[in-house]
Amino acid sequence: MSQKNREGEVLTGTTILALPFEGGVVVCADSRTSTGTYVANRVSDKLVQLSDYIYCCRSGSAADTQALTDYVHYYLSQWSLDTGRIPTVKTAAHLMRRLIYQNKDQLQAGVIVAGWDPVHGGSVYTITLGGSCLELPFATGGSGSIFIAGLLDAEFSNGMDMAEARNLAKKACSHAMCRDGSSGGVIRTVVISADGVDRDYTPGNDLPFGPVAVW
């Protein structure tokens, strides 16, 4: 499968998640990029826009995921020119999957592709390290995701409204950032719906929980 870390490689550590709500999806990520235990960038932006209504959450090697998102962004704009339509999230996800699967030996990238399209509404796809593409009711990824699996299982529900989804995403992300040493910094969220795209920034001193648990 994927090769060992190259020495000095910059990894995104990371907590990423995508939660659908009634009418769209919210994508959310922390902002820590680490080289070993050094924080190379404490305010990274891991939410990359692939097209007007589709975003990608990056985890794994920063270089690999940046290269992949550049390609998919390029292919999607070609696709729009060829078809005259805005791309579906399914198309974006499968393009990403193909690139990761066919280069699985060289890459270390786990991504979540999420967004809105007029055909399917809001949807969330996760693409794992080996290139498996799964459509899920909600998705989490990165090293911090293991700490919030239970929290989201307990608190996620279909048919939340936008505010509820955004708040739950931030809450879950802040809990993961508290427990995972490879996640931290600020929380960035993007709400994607038929109305467009809305970015949000939560500074590191104003997190819903943490950065330190106080018991």
């Binding site: 924080v39 932006d45 939410l47 990359v48 998102t69 995972d180 040493g181 001193n205 950065p211 330190v212």
Partner: protein
């Protein structure tokens, strides 16, 4: 058959930072215990006071620190009650002699290929002078006015060297240490914002309750908020 304990560090603490100021020694450390990359415990003190006179702090494997503290506390008690001279004089453990004793312990363990996986910091005030020293897992010792273990060696030492003067007041020393701890919180994956300060002077040896650093000005620069991942950005970093 000899007991071998050391394999690799499992539950660890990160940097301890310290400096000598006018009238005493100040140490700082966060209270986070890490289990690999996971934050296991948020309120674990990594500095203790021995015999109300000497501060001992450690980074590295926590179980080894607990074992060392246990041995040192027994030693301090023995010094006060059982040493030959204690029959006639009031004797307590001194910082310098503890530092030297720990050097011997660490070196012996290392020579048997079974080290205590720690960087230890010893601080005290005796003979009208402050004492601050470190011992690493190999048994290397340094006595200095400025010390920092782990990541602190890379991130805190330059700040300490820049700002340190022999006549620093306690308030200035404290501000300097808090600044170092803030940088460590930003840039060390295994650090937290919850710290303790410890002080030893001629008359006192105290460790503060854990408190959270104020980093409210660390996240509000416009360049940080900018969404570089969007289509009009550079594609994310």
């Amino acid at each position: 058959m000899a007991n071998k304990h050391t394999t690799r560090p499992i539950t660890t603490g990160t940097s301890v930072v310290g400096l000598v100021y006018d009238g005493g020694v100040l140490l700082a450390a966060d209270t986070l215990l890490s289990y690999g990359s996971m934050a296991k415990s948020f309120n674990t003190p990594r500095m203790v006071s021995i015999a109300d006179r000497v501060l001992l702090g450690a980074s590295g494997e926590y179980s080894d620190f607990q074992e060392i503290v246990s041995r040192v506390e027994a030693l301090a008690l023995a010094e006060t009650t059982q040493s030959m001279e204690s029959v006639y004089d009031e004797r307590t453990l001194s910082a310098k002699s503890l530092w030297n004793y720990l050097r011997a312990v660490m070196y012996q363990k290392r020579s048997k290929m079974n080290p205590f996986w720690n960087d230890l910091v010893v601080a005290g005030f005796e003979n009208d002078a402050p004492f601050l020293g470190v011992i690493d897992k190999l048994g290397t010792t340094l006595q200095e006015n400025l010390v920092a273990t782990g990541f602190g060696g890379y991130l805190a030492m330059p700040l300490l060297r820049e700002k340190w003067r022999p006549d620093l007041s306690e308030g200035e020393a404290r501000a300097l240490l808090e600044d170092c701890m803030k940088v460590l919180f930003y840039r060390d994956c295994r650090a937290s914002a919850r710290i303790q300060l410890a002080k030893v002077t001629k008359d006192t040896c105290i460790i503060s309750e854990p408190y959270e650093l104020d980093h409210s000005n660390g996240w509000n620069a416009p360049s940080m908020q900018r969404a570089v991942g969007d289509l009009d950005g550079d594609g994310g970093w």
